[in-house]
């Protein structure tokens, strides 16, 4: 049994009393992230440096306490929801941009730095940090790293993993290690690639070395509207088929367009069945050529109007429409449940039709705004939880959406992660042997299983003793066997 009073005293001794919080209201606030799942936070700590994170981790280690790292808490899968009175290490006070080196195309930042603050800070150098999740105004780099966050511009530029060169990590026993490298190659296995997207289950990231991407000299943003959803989806494949990889390729259906237009007044056409927001970038010459191809593809599929942003103001307005979608839906109903799954690009229309049918069956309002170029759907169910039976209908619909995407050859999550919300769906896409292998990776970092326990892998996935199994078959242990 963990003695929380002793833990608190030990934490206060290394962090100071102000950095350790056990106020019941605060703990309640930190009992959940932006998902529907609520847990129970034990103590909260707010370290201001990597040394303090390491000190807190050693205390947790000494007491055998589970630990949940947390950034801004914008995660949508329950990854930062603490269970069973775990110690919550909140990184929001680690907000320094440590080093910006355009000549090396890299920057070192602390985990609590907001994504958009970093991009804004870099802008005068002519570089940017490319991943731009819709939550970028408030989501932190540490959280982005742990969920391998995406965003509209990942189509051409890649997800977070492609933009993380190295990480400083505190392991569950308090050991500090730098994984990856500032240069183009690092020694050993690619542990960096494993920690990115690990949802806080392997250690606490205390600094990230991110790649800087040159800001494209020219950019063109276009809004295309369609009378039919399948024409809109077909245009996506057609653009790609013409050899164009747009910087962003976002699709919105009529429901979300109407909500957004009432909120953002961006001039979106509310009578269209669906719209595509397309952005191409590069040298001016390349932008012109790509825009030409995009328009031609759209005309092949019966586009209504093609609106090209005339200047930066109009471009910002078009993006405001897209990025304010999740604020705008508050006009539809008080609560929402946002899904995240990826399907092959060519199955978008089928899956969308399936999503509409699921919503109808469960008497829910569904709107869709998603990264069409990536095949990354975000069906958004709107509802009022004060109506009895609603949550059950929402969860039943969620279950069907996941199965629909998997049956279409898709993945459980494109950018939000597995967390708690999708953990028990993992056997839909992986065999027991696959999941056991994943458990081995976890055990290599966290042999005691104290880092964000019960997340990502379903109960039953465990790293077996494969050496013993080999021995049982062989009768003798081969020379040089790793134990």
């Amino acid at each position: 049994m963990v003695d929380l009073d002793r833990v608190r005293r030990d934490l206060e001794a290394v962090l100071g009393p102000a950095a350790v919080v056990d106020d019941p209201l605060e703990r309640r606030l930190y009992a959940r992230d932006a998902s529907l799942v609520e847990g129970a936070a034990g103590l909260l700590v707010f370290p201001t440096s990597a040394d303090e994170v390491a000190a807190a981790m050693r205390v947790a280690h000494d007491h055998g306490l589970p630990v949940v790292p947390r950034g801004s808490g914008t995660g949508l899968a329950g990854g930062a929801t603490p269970l069973n009175d775990a110690l919550v290490i909140v990184t929001t006070k680690m907000r320094r941009i440590l080093d910006v080196r355009p000549q090396d195309r890299l920057a070192w930042v602390e985990p609590g730095v907001f994504n958009l603050d970093l991009a804004n800070h870099l802008a005068p150098t002519g570089f940017t940090y490319a991943p731009d999740p819709s939550s970028q105004q408030v989501s932190s780099i540490g959280g982005n790293v742990n969920t391998n966050a995406g965003g509209p511009h990942c189509l051409a530029y890649g997800v977070t993993s492609a933009h993380v060169l190295a990480l400083d990590v505190v392991l569950p026993d308090g050991t500090r290690v730098r994984i990856g490298a500032e240069g183009p190659a690092a020694p050993g296995y690619d542990l960096r690639g494993i920690v990115v997207g690990s949802e806080g289950t392997l250690g606490v990231v205390t600094a990230a070395c991110v790649r800087l991407t040159p800001i494209a000299p020219a950019v063109r943003t276009m809004l295309l509207d369609f009378a039919r959803v399948d024409d809109c989806a077909a245009t996506v494949s057609s653009i790609v088929g013409r050899g164009v990889v747009p910087a962003a390729l976002e699709m919105m259906d009529r429901g979300i367009v109407r909500a957004v237009e009432a909120f953002a007044h961006a001039g979106y056409p509310t009578d269209a069945a669906a719209v595509l927001l397309v952005e191409v970038d590069g040298l001016e010459a390349a932008v012109a050529a790509q825009a030409r191809e995009v328009e031609a593809a759209a005309h092949d599929h019966g586009v209504g109007t093609v609106r090209v942003a005339a200047d930066d103001i109009e471009r910002a307005l078009l993006w405001k429409g897209r990025k304010s979608a999740f604020g705008a839906i508050a006009r539809i109903a008080p609560h929402y449940h946002l899904h995240d799954c990826v399907v092959p690009r060519t199955r978008l229309t089928d899956v969308l039709v399936g999503v509409y049918a699921i919503a109808q069956r469960h008497d829910l309002i569904v709107t869709n705004v998603f990264h069409a170029g990536d095949g990354n759907l975000h069906p958004l169910f709107s509802f009022d939880l004060s109506v009895p039976g609603t949550l059950e209908r929402v969860l039943a619909a969620a279950d069907e959406v996941v199965r629909l995407c998997v049956e279409a050859g898709g993945a459980l999550s494109g950018e939000h992660g597995i967390g708690l919300e999708k953990r028990d769906f993992m056997p839909l896409v992986f065999t027991g042997e696959d999941l056991d292998a994943q458990a081995c990776v976890r055990a290599a970092f966290d042999p005691d299983g104290r880092m964000n326990p019960h997340k990502v892998l379903p109960a039953g996935a465990r790293c077996g003793d494969f050496a013993a199994a080999a021995l049982a078959r062989a009768g003798v242990l081969p020379e040089g066997t790793w134990i």
Binding site: C154, A162, A185, S198, S237, L283, A285, A437, V476
Partner: protein, 346 residues
Amino acid sequence: MDLIHPTDQAGVVEAMRAATTVGMRMRIVGGRQHMDTGATGEIGTELWTTALDRVVAYDPAEMLCVVEGGMRLGDLRALLADGGQEWPVDEAGSATVGGVIAADAALPRQLRVGCLRDTVVEMTFVTGDGRRIRSGARTVKNVTGYDLHRLLTGSLGTLGVITQIALKVRPLPKATRTLVTREGGIELASLLLDACPLPAAVVAEHDRVLVRLEGWPEEVAEQARLANEVAVLAEDDPAAWREPPFADATTVARAAVVPSRLAACVEGYERYRALLGVGYVWIPCDDEQALGQLRERAASLGGIAPVVRGPGGVGAADPVTVAIGGRLKAAFDPANILDPGRAWSA
């Protein structure tokens, strides 16, 4: 030397199970392009992946291609070119897909096409004890569990046999051009990198600089015009920039440092090939002492210098990374039969 040459993935499973049972040490071999990287002498048995060369799925509209690990790059190039696409790995046509992934081959055009490790979205591999494991998904984006395929990328055949991969592919550039200067050096190359926006590669050698341009025709013309304002450029053999460097040298190291330290890394070397803006530099080393000196220099610049041809291994890593690596090796190759010793030392 004994040889195992499985014709399907089930055959690999069977071979690995048997090998673990009797403790038979094995080296996984594809197109023999990266045999020296990290290798430590002879291994009794080779497992060849080259009969695993099927196309599993390819639809250009998905910008994904699923192939078996033993497929030759030359065959893959032809397949993708029919779809107007490419997997941007510029290795020899005889190299295998699984081999270049296991070696995490450097992509000369990284500035434009990114890193190899970000093009592998799904993988099936067979562990040292014959478990067939899959990770990732056939989608361009995916956060579903731990990315074991990233662990296998660059693992040099020490964790498992890569039997099948889904690759993220890209449209072939509409236009390409390779330009060459009459003089060489990092300084001139840096000026070209600054002057020419979004090039595919700027390659510095001691006596010339190669500038590789790719994109839309109007774009390439504009880039060439801007580069010409900095240096006199002539058209070059379109393949020159992708030839393996220093074919005559017995030992070649591939140092990796931050881009701004390339000049410091090559100082005093007669011959080198550096990738500007990326930080890779290939340097021939005559003997063990020369390699030791290069490694010391790379380390002092915060980098590494593994050998890619000849003896010398990959070098040293920090003890925590090596310890975690050891635990991973134990889990995926419990009998330690996959090229034991082919590893970073502590």
